[in-house]
């Protein structure tokens, strides 16, 4: 099985992965990948980045088995650029389309680092967190085996207590988290969700016969719009 993954919940990224869908033990192979370092130029770089994964996108796209896109949570405008891209590519290529919660990518990274003995502690529940701006983080809690226990939620980092916290959201608020009994391992305190890791998680779920969700974005916050109240008589 060959899938294209896209995630723009933090950085802009895309990847091509292939794997044996019937064998849960077979690792997925990354055929090509693209990721930016910054979190603000999705509109410019994403399309050239996706194009760079193929030698002939118009011919190879329709042969994909699926497109999987990170549905956030993440800053809205960037997040939408990835979902709009994925939905439109799937339509144009007539390829099945799925979504996956973007923090799953970080959960995959933490599990991989733990397996390699590179992220501490090596066992127990853990939390992954990204920057939600406005002094808040997007976060989710996972079990030792990578099962989603809670989230995704958005809120101040100081509501997270007594658990290892990984990801760029942990790095931003490391001091406060540590003061609240959390472990913040520097090796995993800068991680952002990427399409490669999202693809590994998607492959594992497909191999396990799990149904992937749709592509509705996980905004977690309402638009800031307020219904106007009675007119203020401040002009006289």
């Amino acid at each position: 099985m060959r899938i294209l993954t896209i995630d723009t919940s933090a950085v802009a990224s895309a990847a091509l992965l292939s794997f044996d869908a019937a064998d849960p033990a077979a690792p997925a192979r990354v055929e090509a990948e693209f990721a930016t370092a910054d979190t603000r130029s999705h509109a410019e770089v994403l399309a050239p980045g996706v194009r760079s994964l193929f030698s002939d996108p118009a011919a190879q796209g329709p042969e994909l088995d699926a497109i999987v896109v990170g549905v956030g949570p993440g800053p809205f405008t960037g997040l939408r650029s990835g979902i709009a891209m994925a939905r439109t590519l799937a339509f144009a290529w007539k390829v099945p389309l799925h979504g996956l919660m973007s923090l799953e990518a970080l959960a995959w990274d933490v599990l991989s680092l733990r397996e390699a003995g590179q992220a501490l502690p090596e066992g127990g529940d853990f939390v992954v967190a990204t920057d939600a701006r406005r002094r808040e983080v997007y976060w989710a809690r996972y079990s030792e085996t990578g099962g989603l226990l809670k989230g995704p939620v958005v809120g101040p980092a100081d509501t997270i207590r007594d658990v290892p916290v990984h990801g760029a959201g942990a790095g931003l608020y490391a001091a406060g988290l540590r003061a609240n009994g959390c472990t913040v391992d520097d090796a995993a305190a800068g991680l952002q969700p990427t399409a490669v890791s999202l693809g590994h998680m998607a492959a594992r779920k497909i191999q396990q016969g799990l149904e992937l969700p749709g592509t509705a974005p996980l905004y977690l916050r309402e638009s800031d719009a307020k219904v106007p109240g009675p007119r203020k008589r401040a002009l006289l």
Partner: protein, 363 residues
């Protein structure tokens, strides 16, 4: 690619309309629009984040419907055109991302297009306008007056594919925005334009003398020595004047004569707009003026523009309303002109520009 008579798919998402249009040369095949207007009613104005969310969900269904209506497959399309600005940044981003995806998926060229110039290019699709010009071309010595909830501009169009110049624009609110805000003051429903237009017909436009923004000599100057805002507009002072007026009635315990206020406000806006547009035409050798934007639906604007253009010997052209409001066909129409004129397509790495200047017809 068929360069002489190209089939163009146009995408528009600069405000609250998700538009997909298909145009072959100057022939309109379909113009499919999905609006999120209803979702903004309770807020009394377009909420950018709500519009952006709606664009994301409306895009593929609108595209699918447009292709079906036109009986066209994506493969048949010669090029894709998309509004890259000006407009709401988050809303533009959705259409641009989707358009880039289409270009990438199909390998077709992509044109990043100026929304304001597209409002003019759409004239080519209108039969009544085509009749007023050489077949397949816009009239010579052309100007455009664009009035909507998002913009208010006077343009000079020397060549729709190569040379468009901004003569004047609002320095604060767009005219349509002023209509919305005053409608709210008067307790009328959003969108304010149609509500005020309707109510104004029952009122006396001379009942209250509201200020005409940027019309005093220090802004206007003379034809020889133009002031800093000779062809520009300002509506925020007018809006404040209407608020003061309404509050004055309330403070005196009198009923607000809403029809008179609506009529007088509308007259103040449209008087300046049409006077300055005609002045700009006369001083720039413009002999045909094309009206565009959602406020072109306003009956008093059409009437006043007709009168004043007529008196000055200027031909007024008004495309049918479905082409005046934001739509994808106008983007496709301009895209077709760029292809026909051999303009190079945009690089896939372009960024939408929420304040894209008129002089930049495509990126």
């Amino acid at each position: 690619m068929n360069q002489a008579n190209p089939l163009i798919l146009g995408i528009e998402s600069s405000c609250d309309e998700t538009g997909v249009g298909l145009v072959r040369g100057i022939e309109l095949l379909t113009n499919t629009v999905s609006s999120s207007m209803e979702e903004h009613v309770r807020f009394g104005g377009v909420i950018p984040e709500i519009a952006s969310r709606a664009h994301l969900d409306a895009f593929v269904p609108t595209l699918e419907q447009a292709l079906a209506e036109a009986g066209v497959a994506l493969d048949d399309v010669d090029a894709i055109a998309v509004t890259s600005g000006p407009g709401l940044a988050g809303a533009l981003m959705v259409g641009v991302s989707a358009a880039k995806a289409l270009a990438l998926a199909t390998g077709k060229p992509l044109y990043a297009i100026n929304h304001l110039v597209a409002h003019v290019g759409v004239g080519l699709l209108d039969a009544s306008i085509a009749a007023a010009a050489t077949a397949g071309e816009l009239p010579e010595n052309l100007g455009a007056l664009l009035v909507s909830g998002g913009h208010t501009e006077i343009l000079r169009v020397r060549n729709i594919a190569a040379d468009v110049e901004l003569l004047g624009a609002t320095i604060d609110d767009a005219a349509g925005e002023a209509f919305d805000k005053v409608a709210r003051l008067l307790g009328l429903a959003y969108p304010g334009g149609p509500a005020i237009d309707r109510l104004a017909r029952e009122g006396d436009a001379k009942a209250i003398r509201f200020p005409r923004g940027l019309t005093v000599p220090k802004y206007m100057g003379t034809a020889e020595a133009p002031g800093p805002h000779r062809y520009d507009f300002s509506f925020s002072g007018l809006k404040t004047a209407v608020a003061r007026c309404v509050e004055g009635y309330e403070a005196r315990g009198e009923a607000v004569p809403v029809a008179d206020v609506a009529a007088s406000f509308q007259e103040a806006v449209l008087d300046v707009i049409t006077a300055k547009a005609v002045l700009a035409c006369r001083e720039n050798h413009i002999t045909t003026l094309l009206l565009g934007g959602g406020v072109a639906a306003n009956s008093r604007l059409r009437q006043l523009a007709q009168q004043r253009c007529g008196a000055a010997g200027i031909t007024l052209l008004v495309p049918r309303m479905s082409l005046c409001t934001d739509n994808g066909a106008m983007v496709a129409a301009l895209g077709a002109q760029l292809v026909m004129n051999g303009v190079a397509p945009s690089d896939l790495a372009f960024a939408p520009d929420s304040s894209m200047p008129v002089g930049s017809i495509s990126l």
